[in-house]
Symmetry: C2
Subunit: 410 residues, 2 copies
Amino acid sequence: MKKASIVTIGNEILAGKTVDTNAAHLAVELQNIGIPVVSSYTVADEIEDIVRALKLAGSDANVVVATGGLGPTDDDLTRQAFAEFLGVELQLQNDLLEKIRERFARRNLQMPENNRIQAYIPAGAKALENIGTAPGILAEYKGKLFIALPGVPMEMEQMFKSILPELKKFAGGQALFVRRLNCFGAGESAIAEMIGDMMHRGRNPLINCTVSNGITTLHIVASAKVQNEAKKMAEKDEKFLRDTLGELIFSVEEQTLAEVVGEKLARQNKTIAVAESCTGGWLAKLITDVPGASGYFTHGWITYVNEAKISELGVPAGLIEEHGAVSGQVAEAMARGARGKAGTDFAIGITGIAGPAGGTEQKPVGLVYISVDSESGCETGHFNFINDRPTIRMRAAQTALNMLRLKLNI
Amino acid sequence: MKKASIVTIGNEILAGKTVDTNAAHLAVELQNIGIPVVSSYTVADEIEDIVRALKLAGSDANVVVATGGLGPTDDDLTRQAFAEFLGVELQLQNDLLEKIRERFARRNLQMPENNRIQAYIPAGAKALENIGTAPGILAEYKGKLFIALPGVPMEMEQMFKSILPELKKFAGGQALFVRRLNCFGAGESAIAEMIGDMMHRGRNPLINCTVSNGITTLHIVASAKVQNEAKKMAEKDEKFLRDTLGELIFSVEEQTLAEVVGEKLARQNKTIAVAESCTGGWLAKLITDVPGASGYFTHGWITYVNEAKISELGVPAGLIEEHGAVSGQVAEAMARGARGKAGTDFAIGITGIAGPAGGTEQKPVGLVYISVDSESGCETGHFNFINDRPTIRMRAAQTALNMLRLKLNI
């Protein structure tokens, strides 16, 4: 089995000024083509340090992927370090120089002399094209692959995609198929309990579980001799997991809750408006993160003060007085008011206490009421989210989306 | 000068399932007490791999900080690896066992037998107290410090704080003072040009520059024999940078644009409302990210469709027909309408094309109009943001905050 090692290059990363997200991205992508990452090194922008890391990584693995240090300034030394490690000279590649010049020319700029260095590649290595200016490097050395990618995540991801076919070929005999199922509505441990032995370590497919922003993602990683076989194994597991977890699973792969909801609204030709208090626009932001949201999302109100709830949404002042602004009654009145004014098929009302201040014994920080109003009536839930202000707000917005999703399933 | 090396332990991190934020946190904290991080290793939950990484890290640095692998399950092997690396046995510490038992007892639970292992510490090493169950380890070995912290960020950060005095003492003679200045309104390269030679590598204080979400942060890192001297050097640089960059600098340390704006509004006893189209609630979300925003933020409208702009904000239908929904005239009418309805001192109107679809030759994707209305009149700017939908939306929301900030400076 082929293995990979990652070398992250950059003083910024080492000093903690930038959190390294490239290593995690590469690890998942490499794992998905059957090349697990077995080690990872972070080093400064120094030739000596980079060369040492390339040696260590090369002794751990068959594929070494380095990121960073390909920029045009004096402290970008990855090119030089690769040449030294490979024992060759850097060579000027005129076609690369021309491409870099053109890129500047298109913006009516002259190429700064500094950028010339980016057209140099270690002799015998292959230059990898970049959407930015810095070409990457791919070299074979003693039967192993050494790859240098840019540090800018978008450029790195695009360049990595371009070498995927080559890497897959290099990975050889084994085939991996990975399927991601995204769940909302139950915690990691509850889900683990529901699916029982399937998460056992030695199993094939392997079921990995990750949690991010309240979303639990199950990764079905099937390995077999041929891709088709691995795919079938994963599909069998997916079927079982869907039978077991039911509506907890809301999407596959990268699809977000807002995208699922948007797709359902568009398909059913329905519209939505929102009225937010404690989430302060976050729910609307999630909905409008999705390109084309204007096809179904029409109005949003952030009624942060009581007067706004009254004047903009027609929430009766007496209702706020009697039950408090954070109450099921007010959430419902907000949702009804928003639907009435916007004339949409659905409207969501959210009111809660995001903290850190404002909690009482009866109504602690984290208490949130969410209402979804539609022709068929108004459904209201109350939730006690824990953790800090950002987490409470985010969970409230996502829970609202999930309530709407379940309504749209019917 | 003392140096540090970080060892991150865990299959989850290596496989990219969890992004490692601990390393960056530790790097900044260590740098701030004068111990720069010179290398960083990420390894699997295997004794052999951990021991090798401890050796490499120990040859790079005087302080080695490992995180992760202190849990109670079979794949948590950091304790064992530390013992092997130090050449000693693991010893049961009865007081630790008692503490772990008590922690369970407080929740009316019996300690699972698995957790017993967490009371074992390498002979001669010191146990570090944890808010979770897993104690950390601090060992001196050949004049160097080897530290094991838990992988859970909150537990790690707390435990690291508890050993800060010891680490500062160990760091000895040198003192570092770090000051961060956050800038908005000019790009990294424009700022670098303005401050000229100050960013030279060999300089003391060293000026580092990082960019995140459109915010350029200058880090002044001053080192001297005593803290006070380093502080003075940094302050001298700060004064010069403030003279040079003026209003581009909006805050120091971790303070966000929304926090600065919120502080100014609160101090001047002013209120704000927002009317958003392309940003879809993101501006309101940024404003309400700040605890206590209800003191100055009252109303938000997300008028995503034209009818909403007309009915909710009173934008004349003819204005939209004549100039288009994405125009300075409509942004202004949105801001005026919002201020009129909310009765606030300020209101912001934003309308633009976030893409990916909807652009034309005259009005390309990225074109955004932003108006800030106040008693003294309405100021409107237009911007051509580049990049993808999330970047355009985020830059638009931040630019709006910055326009308001500059108004509040007067």
